[in-house]
Symmetry: C2
Subunit: 147 residues, 2 copies
């Protein structure tokens, strides 16, 4: 995706969800398969100088939301989160990187069909927080979209 689209998506998030501005979230890339969000450590550190668990969960939640928005291709859909779990495996010491991959073809087809038919559908997504190619935090979330 081109830079203008990424900056526009980022501006949309910053406008709609002010915490993303405070976190200085950036939409680093989106290739149609994988969404990559980042946030600098500075506004997101904790008392130990590593990434605050709350910032990590917020960034992962946002990555899931954003992926559903991007896949649906229209921002008028209402997307909510129903549940999530986080596994913190190791501290994040630098910039926060959240990667959310699109669901596999069968899951996405089932979601799309139900969304088109009933105007409401649920989707489970995984997000990884990565540092130096190592997974530091795993997130799983259940999202629901309403037309």
């Amino acid at each position: 995706m081109n830079q203008a689209f990424l900056r526009e998506t980022e501006a949309f998030l910053h406008e709609q969800i002010p915490l993303t501005r405070a976190m200085a979230v950036r939409v680093a890339s989106w290739d149609g398969d994988e969404l990559h969000l980042t946030a600098p450590l500075e506004p997101n550190h904790n008392h130990l100088g590593t990434a605050f668990g709350g910032s990590l969960s917020a960034l992962a939640t946002l990555a899931g939301y954003s992926l559903v928005w991007l896949l649906l291709g229209h921002r008028d859909a209402h997307i909510v989160i129903r549940g999530s779990s986080m596994r913190y495996r190791r501290p994040v010491r630098g910039e926060l990187h959240a990667i959310c991959r699109r669901p596999d073809q069968a899951d996405w087809a089932a979601f799309s069909a139900q969304f088109a038919r009933t105007g409401k559908a649920a989707l489970s997504l995984q997000v990884s927080i990565i540092e130096d190619s190592v997974v530091c935090v795993e997130f799983a979330g259940d999202f629901v979209a309403f037309a």
Copy 2:
């Protein structure tokens, strides 16, 4: 607890974890049993005008951290979160209120004994996000403290 102590705890959080300042988190009360944190909706809303899931998870995580700090009675302990789960039951439409109760006596005694003996101990905590006396979000987190 007196107001000076609550304001001091709040200042500590704002200083150590800058996101809590952006969220305008307040330590509303702590009576030795129950910790009550709040945050206004304004900096914490989402694209639907209700509380952002990321703000709710950050506030719940912070309530758990803070309870461990307050119970341990010294802020030099390193506290980390290992895992958490959130169940979003209904949207939060106004101010965010997170309530974390101290663990029961047996769990706290086991935690304290292990912390004193080994300098490391784990504790599971529940946090509820409440609005108009109704539980909107349930959080469960596993925290580990290091001396």
